[in-house]
Amino acid sequence: MTAAVLKPGTVADVQDAIRDAVMDRVPLAIEGGGGLSGLGRPMQTERTLKLDGLTGVVEYSPSELYATFRAGETLADARAALAEKRQRLPFDPPDLTGLYGDAGGLATMGGVVAAALSGPSRVAVGAARDYVVGVGFVDGQGQALKGGGRVMKNVTGYDLCKLTTGAFGTLGAITDATFKVLPFANSEVTLLAHGLDDAAAQAMMSAAFKSPFEPVGAAHLPATAAAAIGGVGGAGAVTALRLEGFPDSLDYRTNAIRSFLPAGLELTELEAEPSAAFWEGVRDVAPFQAPDPRALWRISTAPTQGPKLVAEIAQSLEVDVFYDWAGGLIWLAVAGDAPNAGADVIRPLITAQGGHGTLMRADQSVRAAVEVFEPLAAPLLQLTQGLKRTFDPFNALNAGHMYAAV
C-alpha cells in the first residue's frame, strides 16, 4: 500500500483534504513535523495530512503578551521569534521528538497543542492547556472553526482551547494557535541536593513548595538519570530546585528557602547558564532519548505518591526513572523483556494510587495490544466517544489514535 502524503499550504487546503477524505472514505493521519508518529495507538491509514508547511508567525504583540503561530511553525523557530523580544512560552514545552529517533528538533506548535506538551515549569506556572488562549482548527467535516481568541481572560462559550489541547488531532486538524507569552526571567539559579533517595528527595521538593519562595521547577534524578544529563557535578542522585527572578531577589530566596528544607542536606548551586542547560535536559527527557530502545512511560500522580508508585512497580519490573513536577511526573523506562511494556503491572498500580499514565514509546505491536493512554471509566469513555462523533462524525481524523473509536 502506498501512503499518500498531503502537504497543505493554506487552511483552505486543509479543508479540501478533509472533505476529500470524507468523500473517499479514506481516514487521515495528521502530523506536524512527524517526530511524534511513534506516540499513540497505531493507525491503519493510507493518507497523511502533514501540516509542516503551515509555517510562520501570524501575529505577535509583545506588549499585549500574545503570539499566534501557524501549526507547522517549529517550536525552535517560535522560541527564537519570542526570544528576540525577550519573551517565552511560560510552560516551557519540551521537544520530545528526540525520544523517537533522529536528532529530534522536529516539534511544531501544532504538536505542542495536540500532545499538550508542558515542561518542568508546569508544576509552578501551569500547562500548555493554561496558555493556549486561541486555537484554529478544521473539524472532521472540513469546517474551519475557532476556539478562544487572543485575550487571556475569556469565558465566552465552551473552552475549545482546553479540549483540543491534548486531543492528539482526534477532534480537528489544528491550523493555528495563540499563546499567552511572558517575559524572560531576569536570571535563574538551581539549588542541588546530592545523594538523596527518592522518598527523601520528594520530601525536600514538597518542603520547597511549602515556602513563600516560589520555586519554578523541582526534579529528582537518581544516579543513572543524573549521569545522562551531566553537568551536575560528581556521581550519584541529584535533587534540583529552580528559582527565577531579579538577581538581588534570587540571592535572597536561594538562601531563605534553605531554612524550609530538611536539615543536613548537602547543597550546591548551578548558576544561570548551567542551570538552564540542566533543565533543558530534564524538559526534553535527555536520560531516555533515542537510541535508548526501552519502552517509556510518562506517569502523572500526586507528588508524594511518586516514589511509592515507583517502588511498587520496581518490585515486578526492571525500571529506570526520574521525577519532575516535585515528584508528580514520573518518566519510567522498562527493560526490553517485560511483556506488554509492563502495562499489566503498571496500569493497575496507577489506578490504585490515582493518576494517569501514557505509554510514550513502545513497539507498534505493543501499542496495538495495550491501551496507550489512561483507560477511561465507562461513562467518561462514552462522553469522549460522543465528543469525537461531534467533531469528526465520519472518523476521518486520526481515527482510533487515542482510544477505540476516538
Partner: protein
C-alpha cells in the same frame, strides 16, 4: 430584555407530583423547598432585572442525592438549574418556571487538606473565601479572588470559571482547579483529575469548567492551594490620560516585572469611589493605576523602586507608595468598594465584562464613552489592566420606563465593540442569559452549532440550563442536529 422560553405546561401541571417524588430522594426533611415564600430567594441572582419562580428547590447534602435527583429529572424530563450562592451578574443562576433549582448550600464539607501536595478537596458549596480561611492559619491561600468571594461558592466559580483581581499572576479558576467529582445529566458519578496534574484522555475538566451548569453538576472539587507570599504592597498612580497609563503598564510588563495585580479606574470611577470610601485618590487625573507586587519587605521595596523608575518616564501626575499594611489597605479600599460606591450614586447599574487586547484600552474607552453618550447614560470604567478584562458600569434608573432595556442595548453595543477590537464578550462573569443573544457576534453559526452539539453529548435531552449561553433561535434543542453539506453528500 432577553426572551425566556415558554414553560412546559405538562411539567407545570405535574408540579406536586414531581416535588413529591424529589422529597423521596432527599433525606433531610427540609431538603426540598416548595413553599412560595421560601422559593422567593431563588427567583433571581445578582442580575436582578430577571426573575423566574422555579417549580421548587432541592438542597442535597451528598453526591448520591445529587445523582438520584439528576437521574430522576433526566427520566422525567424536568429541567435543572444548578445554583451556587446566586451571585452571578450574568443570570447564570436564573431559574425557569418549569425547572427545579439544585442548590449546593448544604454541601459544605471539607474532605481533605494536603499541604505536601498543595491541594484541598471539598464539597462545592464552600465559599471562595471560605477556602482561604481554612488554610490561611498555615499560611496558604486559594488564588482566584472574584469580588463576590465572601459569598460566592466554589461550585459557582467552577461553573463560570471565575477570575478576580489577582489572576494576572495566579490565573483563573480553571488554572487552579485540579479535579472534580461530577454527576452527569443521566445520574452517573464520574471523576476528572485529582491531586495529580493534567488529565488522562481528553481534557474534560477544562471543558466543564466555565460550562455554566449546562453539562453536569459538580459535587466535589480538588483545588490547588499555594503558600502565601511573605508580603504584598501596592503603588498608586494617577495619569493625565488613559493612553499614557496604558503605555506605562506595557513598559512595566515588558521589563520582566509581572505584578500580582494591575487595576485601572477612569475618572468617573475615581470620583465615585473617593466620595464613598475616602481612600485619598487624586481627583484631578483621568486614569488611576493600582499596581501590587509581592515578596519580602526588601524585595517589594526593590520591585516598587524599579516600577517607579519605569513610570517616571510617563510623567505620572500622582504617585503614592504603600509603606505599610495599613497604607496598602487604604489604597485597595477604594477599588474594592468601587461597585458599592457606584451603587450609591446611581439607582441601578449594569456591570459589563468584556475583554480587549490591552493595547486597545484608549480606543475602547473613547468609543465606550461615545456609545454611552449616544444613549444618554453615564459610565464608569474599571479595568484589570494586565489581562484586558474591562468592566464598564452603565448607570441607569430602572424606575424610568424603558430605561432598563436601553441600558441593556447600550451594554450590548459595548460588548460588540470588545469583539470588534479583538476581544470577547465575557472575561470572567460568563454568558448566562445576559449575553446569550450576543453570542452570534463572536461565533459563526457553525461554531455555535458545534457547541450546541457538544452540549447534547453531555445532556441529550437539553435539560440543564437550556435557556442560557446559546441563543434560543436556531437552538436545535430537541430536534436532530442540522446536517452540513458534507454530511448530506456523504449520507446520500
Amino acid at each position: 430584555m432577553v426572551a425566556l422560553p415558554e414553560p412546559d405546561a405538562e411539567i407545570l401541571a405535574a408540579r406536586d407530583e414531581i416535588l413529591n417524588d424529589l422529597k423521596g430522594l432527599i433525606a433531610a426533611p427540609d431538603g426540598v423547598i416548595d413553599h412560595p415564600d421560601e422559593i422567593k430567594p431563588y427567583e433571581t441572582d445578582a442580575l436582578t432585572a430577571y426573575k423566574q419562580t422555579p417549580l421548587g428547590v432541592v438542597l442535597p447534602e451528598t453526591t448520591a442525592e445529587v445523582a438520584a435527583v439528576m437521574k430522576y429529572c433526566h427520566e422525567r424530563g424536568v429541567k435543572v438549574v444548578a445554583r451556587g450562592a446566586g451571585t452571578s451578574l450574568a443570570g447564570g443562576a436564573l431559574p425557569m418556571a418549569d425547572a427545579i433549582v439544585i442548590g449546593v448550600s448544604k454541601m459544605i464539607d471539607i474532605l481533605d487538606v494536603d499541604y505536601d501536595n498543595r491541594t484541598i478537596t471539598l464539597q462545592p458549596g464552600v465559599t471562595n473565601l471560605g477556602v482561604t480561611d481554612i488554610v490561611s492559619p498555615d499560611k496558604f491561600f486559594y488564588a482566584p479572588d472574584p469580588s463576590s468571594q465572601l459569598a460566592c461558592t466554589i461550585a459557582g466559580n467552577i461553573g463560570m470559571n471565575s477570575g478576580g483581581a489577582h489572576c494576572l499572576k495566579y490565573g483563573v479558576t480553571s488554572n487552579n482547579l485540579m479535579g472534580v467529582e461530577m454527576v452527569t445529566t443521566t445520574g452517573d458519578i464520574v471523576r476528572l483529575g485529582g491531586k495529580h496534574l493534567d488529565a488522562g484522555g481528553l481534557d474534560l475538566l477544562g471543558l466543564i469548567t466555565g460550562s455554566e451548569g449546562t453539562l453536569g453538576m459538580v459535587t466535589e472539587a480538588t483545588l490547588r492551594i499555594l503558600h502565601s507570599p511573605e508580603g504584598a504592597r501596592p503603588i498608586l498612580y494617577g495619569f493625565e490620560t488613559s493612553a499614557v497609563a496604558g503605555e506605562c503598564v506595557d513598559a512595566i510588563i515588558s521589563s520582566g516585572i509581572i505584578p500580582v495585580a494591575i487595576e485601572f479606574m477612569d475618572k468617573p470611577a475615581i470620583h465615585a469611589t473617593e466620595r464613598f470610601a475616602h481612600a485619598g485618590y487624586p481627583l484631578d487625573v483621568e486614569a488611576l493605576l493600582i499596581i501590587e507586587v509581592e515578596g519580602s519587605n526588601d524585595e517589594i521595596d526593590t520591585m516598587l523602586g524599579r516600577i517607579q523608575k519605569i513610570a517616571a518616564d510617563f510623567k505620572p501626575a500622582y504617585e503614592r507608595v504603600a509603606k505599610s499594611a495599613a497604607e496598602s489597605l487604604a489604597i485597595w479600599k477604594g477599588r474594592k468598594s468601587a461597585f458599592g460606591a457606584i451603587g450609591r450614586i446611581s439607582p441601578d447599574y449594569f456591570c459589563m465584562d468584556g475583554t480587549i487586547p490591552t493595547g486597545k484600552l484608549p480606543e475602547a474607552l473613547d468609543r465606550i464613552s461615545s456609545i454611552c453618550d449616544s444613549y444618554g447614560f453615564e459610565v464608569a470604567n474599571i479595568f484589570h489592566a494586565g489581562d484586558g478584562n474591562l468592566h464598564p458600569l452603565i448607570l441607569y434608573n430602572a424606575n424610568e420606563p424603558g430605561e432598563t432595556e436601553r441600558a441593556e442595548e447600550c451594554g450590548g453595543d459595548i460588548l460588540k465593540l470588545c469583539v470588534e477590537l479583538g476581544g470577547c464578550l465575557t472575561g470572567e462573569h460568563g454568558v448566562g442569559v445576559e449575553k446569550r443573544d450576543l453570542m452570534v457576534e463572536q461565533f459563526t453559526p457553525a461554531e455555535l452549532d458545534l457547541q450546541r452539539r457538544m452540549k447534547r453529548v453531555f445532556d441529550p435531552k437539553y435539560l440543564m440550563n437550556p435557556h442560557k449561553v446559546f441563543p434560543l433561535v436556531d437552538n436545535p434543542g430537541l430536534a436532530g442536529p442540522i446536517l452540513s453539506p458534507v454530511q448530506m453528500e456523504a449520507a446520500e
